[in-house]
C-alpha cells in the first residue's frame, strides 16, 4: 500500500464504501467484508483488520442487542435467547457493512503518505489551497492532541481536578478548552502570516518536488473499483 499512488487508496476506499451500501444485505456486505480483510492482509496492512474489528466491536454488540434480541417477532432460538430472524439478518448485514468500510479506511490510512499526496496533487494541477487544507489538518490534529496533555499538566499544577462532580468537571473543561482555543487562534495568525509571505494567492502552477509514479496496477485498481460501483448501481436498478 505504501508504494501505491496516493490517490489509489482513498479512491478504492470510497468505492468500497459505496459498494457496502449498494450490495444487497446480508450476503453482499459479508462477502465484501471478507474480500476487504483478505486484500488488507495481502497488501501488507496486517493490523487493519484487527484494529477495525476492535473499533466495530461495540457497534456490532449494540446491533445484535437492538435488532437481534430486542427486534420484532422473536422466532428464532440461540441457546436461551429468543432472536428476531429478520432483525438478526439486518444486524449481520449492517455489521459487515461497517466492518468493510472501517477496515478499508484503516488500511488506506496506514499507507497514506502526506508528502507523496502533496506531490501527486501538485502534479495533477490541484489548487495549492486544497492540498494545504488536507495536509495542514492531518498534521495539526496530533499536535493539538499532545497540546491537550501539556495544558492539562500545566493546569494541574494550578489545582485542576479531573475527577469529582459534574460542576467540578465543567470547571475543569473550561480550564482546558479555553487555553486550547486561544492557542489555536494564535497559531492561525502565525500560519496566516507564513502563507501570505509565501504568496499563497499567486496564480502560478506549483511544481512537485518528486514525481509520483502512477503505475498500470494503480490505474487498473482504481478502474476496477469504480467499474464495480457502476455495475452494482446498474444491477440494483435493473433488479
Amino acid at each position: 500500500m505504501a508504494r501505491a499512488h496516493p490517490f489509489t487508496g482513498p479512491s478504492l476506499t470510497i468505492a468500497i464504501t459505496l459498494l457496502a451500501f449498494l450490495l444487497p444485505a446480508p450476503a453482499g456486505p459479508l462477502w465484501l467484508y471478507g474480500g476487504v480483510v483478505l486484500a488488507a492482509l495481502i497488501t501488507g496492512a496486517l493490523s487493519a483488520p484487527w484494529h477495525g474489528a476492535l473499533i466495530c466491536l461495540p457497534l456490532w454488540f449494540f446491533l445484535f442487542l437492538l435488532h437481534g434480541v430486542l427486534g420484532a417477532d422473536p422466532s428464532w432460538s440461540l441457546g436461551s435467547l429468543s432472536l428476531s430472524r429478520e432483525g438478526t439478518a439486518m444486524a449481520l448485514g449492517q455489521a459487515a457493512r461497517l466492518g468493510a468500510i472501517v477496515t478499508a479506511t484503516l488500511a488506506m490510512y496506514r499507507g497514506f503518505s502526506v508528502p507523496r499526496f502533496v506531490d501527486a496533487a501538485s502534479e495533477r494541477g490541484w489548487p495549492f489551497q486544497y492540498s494545504y487544507l488536507l495536509v495542514a489538518t492531518i498534521m495539526a490534529v496530533p499536535r493539538f492532541v499532545s497540546q491537550v496533555h501539556h495544558i492539562r499538566e500545566a493546569q494541574r499544577t494550578r489545582g485542576l481536578r479531573l475527577t469529582g462532580n459534574w460542576l467540578t468537571k465543567g470547571r475543569g473543561l473550561k480550564a482546558l478548552a479555553l487555553p486550547l482555543a486561544f492557542g489555536a487562534l494564535a497559531e492561525a495568525e502565525e500560519r496566516a502570516l507564513a502563507l501570505e509571505t509565501r504568496s499563497i494567492r499567486a496564480p502560478v502552477r506549483r511544481t512537485p518536488l518528486h514525481v509520483v509514479q502512477d503505475r498500470f496496477a494503480d490505474r487498473l485498481a482504481r478502474w476496477l473499483g469504480w467499474s464495480s460501483v457502476v455495475a452494482a448501481v446498474v444491477w440494483r436498478l435493473a433488479s
Binding site: 449494540f62 478499508a104 495539526a140 473543561l173 500560519r191
Partner: protein, 189 residues
Amino acid sequence: MSPRQLALIPVAVALNVAVGRIVAEFNLPVYLDATGTILASALAGPVVGVTTGVLSQVITAMIGGYVWLAFAPVQIIIALLALAGARARMFRSLPVSLGLGASVGVVAGALSAVISYFVFRGVTAGGVTAITTLLTSTGLPLSVAVTASSLATDIVDKSIAFAIVGMALRGLPLRMVARFPEAGRAIRS
C-alpha cells in the same frame, strides 16, 4: 479565501478533535466535536465554518472509517446556525449562548436522528446507542428511541459547545477581535 481564513480551518478542525479528547478524559457524556466548527463560523463566516465542519468529518472518517462521513450535513447545519447566531449577537452572554446552543441542539439532534435511523439503523456512538437501547427495551419503537436519544444528547452537547465558544469569543483580545469582524458583532451587547 484570505490567508487568515485558510489558516484558521486546519486549527479549527484540530480543535474539534482535541476538545473531543478533553471530554473523554473527564468521562463526560458529550462529544463537543463541533466546538472548532462553531468558533470558525462565528469568527470568519459561512465558507470557513462549513469547510471546517466538512473537513472535520473527512479527517474523522479517514482515521475511524468513511462511514462517519454520513454525519457531514450535521456539521454544515451547525456551522450555518452558529453564523446566524453570531450575526444576531447571541454570543454576548452565557445565558444567551446556552439558549442558542440548545436551539441548535434540537435541529442538529433531529438531523442526526434521521441519519442515524436510516443509514446506521440506530447504532452509532456508544453513549447515544446505549440510551437508544435502553429506550427500546422499554417498548418504544426504534424510530422514537433514536430521535429521543439524539435530541437529548445533542441539546446538552451543543449547549456546552456554544457556551465554551461564547466564553472564548468574549475573552479574545481586542486586537484579535478587530481582525475578525464577525466576532465583534457576535459579542456586542
